[in-house]
Assembly symmetry: C2
Homo-oligomer: 426 residues x 2
C-alpha cells in the first residue's frame, strides 16, 4: 500500500463533494488499487465560512501557496476555478514535479498549452477530466482509448444550461425567455446567463476538446462562438416539421491539416443520438476513421459527477506517483485554425417572399450562382406573402453568407429570416 496525501485548493460545491466522496470510497480504493489516499490540506479563502463537508482539525488553511509548496502534499487538486491565482498555483506545483488534477475549464482553455508543457518538462501529470462535460470520461477516452485513432470530428452538447432551455422550448413550447427564467429558478442558469447562453462556456470546452483530440495548440481565442439567445419558437417549430431538434453544439474537426473549433445552435436529425440528449445532460459524439461513431453521455455538471471525474484523475495521478511514471499526451502541434468562412455545413434558410410566379426560380438561381445546392424546399402560406424553408446540401460558409446577402437584394424577397446550420452526413 502506497500512502499519498492530497492538497485540495478550493472547497466549494465540487471541492466539498470531492472530499466527501474520497472519504466514503477510501477503503474500497485501497483494496482495488493499493493506494491509500488522504486529504492533507484544504486551502480556502475564508477559513471561517461554513462548508458542506466536515474536515478534520488542522486541515483547513487560507494559504494555498503553502499547500502547493508543502513537502507533505503529493498531489495537488485545484478546484478554485478562474485564471488567477489558479494558474500561478498550478504552475508552481507542476514546476516542483507535483502532479495536478483540475476541473478548471477557463484555465485550460486559455493556458492549457503552457501548463501541459510545464507538466511535460517536469515529468509529471496534469489531468483535467472534470473540465469538459463533468462526469463524462471524454478526456481519458481521447487520451488513451483513442490514442491510436484518427479523430475526424466531435459534436458536443457540453453546456447543460442551454440544453435545458432548448429542451423546454422543444418539448413544452416554452419561449426562450420563459425557459431561461425556469432554468434560473431551478439553479441551472445564473442571474447573468451570458457565459452559458452566448456559448462562451461551451467555447472554452471546445478549445480543450480540440487540443486533446488533435494534439494541437488550440485555445479559447480560436473558437468561433454563437449562442442561443436568438433562437425563437418558430425556429424550434421549423426544426420539428423537418424532423430535427435544435441543440447548441460545440463542433471541432480536423481536415486537410487545419482545425475548426466552433459553437453554434444547429438542427440535429431526430434519429441522431445527440437528439435524445435532454434536459441538462451533456454528450459528445465522436467520429473517427476506424472507430466510426462513438458517443459519451452523462452529467455535465453537479458536485457528484464532477467529483467522480476528479477522483478518477486523482487515482490515475496517484498510481503514477506510486509507480514513478507519468501519463503525458505527447507533443502538441501548431496547426492552422480554419476561419469560420472556410468551414462547411448544411444550412436551413427561411425566406419571406412575395408569392408570385418566378420567385422560386429567382431564389434558386441565387443559391446556384454561389454553388450552394438545395436539398429540400417547402413553401408555407401563399397569397401576398409566403415563406420558403430551404435545407441546403453541405456548402462553404462564405458561399452561404454571400447567397444570403444577394437574396436580401432580390425584389421578391421581403426578408431573409432564420439561418441555422444542419447536422448532415458529408
Amino acid at each position: 500500500v502506497t500512502e499519498l496525501r492530497l492538497g485540495v485548493l478550493g472547497c466549494g460545491t465540487v471541492g466539498a463533494a470531492f472530499v466527501a466522496l474520497l472519504a466514503e470510497r477510501r477503503a474500497e480504493i485501497r483494496t482495488r488499487t493499493g493506494l491509500d489516499l488522504t486529504v492533507g490540506a484544504v486551502a480556502v479563502r475564508d477559513t471561517g465560512a461554513t462548508r458542506a463537508v466536515e474536515l478534520a482539525a488542522g486541515i483547513l488553511t487560507d494559504d494555498a501557496a503553502a499547500v502547493v509548496a508543502s513537502p507533505d502534499v503529493d498531489i495537488v487538486v485545484e478546484l478554485i476555478g478562474g485564471i488567477e491565482p489558479a494558474r500561478t498555483l498550478v504552475l508552481s506545483a507542476l514546476e516542483q514535479g507535483r502532479p495536478v488534477v483540475t476541473g478548471n475549464k477557463a484555465l485550460l482553455a486559455t493556458h492549457g498549452v503552457e501548463l501541459l508543457a510545464a507538466a511535460s518538462s517536469a515529468g509529471t501529470d496534469l489531468l483535467f477530466e472534470a473540465a469538459v462535460a463533468g462526469g463524462i470520461p471524454l478526456m481519458r477516452v481521447l487520451r488513451e482509448s483513442l490514442v491510436g485513432e484518427r479523430v475526424r470530428r466531435m459534436l458536443g452538447i457540453v453546456n447543460g444550461t442551454t440544453n435545458f432551455i432548448l429542451t423546454k422550448m422543444t418539448e413544452e413550447g416554452a419561449d426562450y425567455g420563459d425557459a431561461l427564467a425556469e432554468a434560473q429558478r431551478l439553479g441551472y442558469a445564473e442571474a447573468d446567463p451570458t457565459a452559458d447562453v452566448e456559448g462562451h462556456d461551451a467555447g472554452a470546452k471546445a478549445a480543450i476538446m480540440a487540443m486533446i483530440a488533435f494534439r494541437a495548440t488550440v485555445g479559447a481565442g480560436d473558437v468561433h462562438t454563437e449562442g442561443i439567445s436568438t433562437v425563437g419558437t418558430d425556429d424550434i417549430e421549423a426544426a420539428r416539421r423537418l424532423g430535427h431538434v435544435i441543440k447548441l453544439l460545440a463542433v471541432v474537426e480536423e481536415d486537410g491539416g487545419a482545425i475548426s473549433a466552433r459553437v453554434h445552435p444547429a438542427m440535429v436529425p431526430v434519429d441522431h443520438p445527440l437528439a435524445a440528449v435532454r434536459d441538462s445532460f451533456n454528450a459528445v459524439f465522436v467520429v473517427g476513421d476506424a472507430v466510426d461513431e462513438l458517443m459519451l453521455y452523462g452529467r455535465g455538471a453537479g458536485g457528484g459527477p464532477t467529483a467522480s471525474a476528479v477522483l478518477g484523475d486523482v487515482i490515475e495521478a496517484a498510481d503514477h506517483v506510486a509507480r514513478r511514471t507519468t501519463g503525458g499526451l505527447g507533443p502538441l502541434a501548431d496547426v492552422p485554425i480554419r476561419a469560420i468562412d472556410d468551414t462547411r455545413s448544411a444550412f436551413f434558410v427561411r425566406l419571406a417572399v412575395i408569392d408570385r410566379p418566378g420567385v422560386l426560380a429567382a431564389v434558386a438561381g441565387v443559391f446556384g450562382a454561389h454553388g450552394v445546392s438545395i436539398r429540400s424546399m417547402e413553401q408555407r402560406g401563399s397569397g401576398g406573402e409566403a415563406q420558403l424553408d430551404f435545407i441546403t446540401h453541405v456548402a462553404r460558409e462564405a458561399d452561404l453568407r454571400a447567397t444570403l446577402a444577394d437574396l436580401a437584394d432580390l425584389d421578391a424577397v421581403e426578408r431573409v429570416g432564420t439561418c441555422l446550420r444542419v447536422v448532415a452526413d458529408e
Copy 2:
C-alpha cells in the same frame, strides 16, 4: 522511442483490420507516444489462404505456440476467438510475463477469473476492450475513470444483431421472422442465429461487464438469459402505445452484497437514452453513486471499430512494457449471485379476460395478494373477450411469477399473455 514487436494470433476480419490500422497509424502513434509498434508475426491456421491485408514476407506462420514463445514478441494479440487453443496460448503468454490483448468474449466469460489471476501473478497486462461492445471504451472507463466510483447497475444493448431486428420491428412493423431474414441477408445475423437471438452472446458480455464493474468472479454460467425469439409485433405495438420500445438488455447490478447478471428483452421508456440506440449500434448505460448516469454508445462489432479498441489496448500494454509497469484490476471478490427469482423489476403483463363486471377486482386482488402493486392498467376491446394491459411498480420476480400462476387459475382469465420487464426508476 521504444521499439516493440507484436505477435498477432488470427487474421480474420478483426485481425486483418488491426494489422492494416496499425500500419496506417504507426508513424502518428510514434509521435504521440514514443512507441514504435510493428507486427513481428501473424499466426493463422492456413498460411495459404487469401487475406484482406498484405503482410511482409516471413511474417505469416501456422505455429501460434511458437509466436507466443518467441523472445522477439513483446506483446501477444489474440484474435482467434473461441476457447481452445486461445486459452492455452493466452495462459502461456501470460505465464512468460508477456502482456496479452484479446477481443475474445467467450474466453473471458468462461476463463476470465483464471486468466486475470495469471496476469496478476506474472505482473503483466491482460486487456480486452474489444470483448464487450466492440469500439465502445467501456472496459477502460470502468477500470480507470470509474475505479473510485460505486457502480450500482449497468444496462447494456450489447448485441447488434438483436438490436437491428428489434429496430426493424419497431420502426417498420416487420415481424420477427422477416426482420431476422433481413439481418441475415445483410450479414448482421448468422445462418444459425441462436447465439444472438437467444441472448447467449449478450450473456457472455454481461458476465464480463459484471466482473469488471464489481471486481467480482462472475462467469457466463452466472447469467440468467432470455432471448427475443418470443417477441411479437403485438408486444412491439403494446410497448409503443405505452411510450416504450423493446430492447434486449444485458443487466448487471450489485445490491446488498449480491450480484445479478441477466439478459432479457425489456420495455424501455422512449425518453430514456437507450431507446435512441438504433440498428446494430450498441450502448451501455451506467448508474453510479457519484457519477449518476453515464452512457457509452458506438459500434459493437465490425473490423474497424473492433480494431480500434484492440489498438487502444495494445498501446496501453506497450506503454506499460516501456515503463516497466502494469495496469491491473485489483483483486476479484467472490460475491454471491442473486437468483433471478430474487431480482426486482417493473413488469408489463397482458391478460385476455372475459369482459364482465368484477373481473378487474378479481385480477387486482391477485396482484395485491402477492404484494405486486399496479402502476397503470388499460383495457382494450370489450364484449366477449377483452384484453387488460398492466404495468406494475417494481416487484420481486418470484412474486410476479406467483401472481401470473394464480391469474392463470382465475375463471375470468382466458389467457396470461406477454410478460415483459420494464425499465423504471426505482
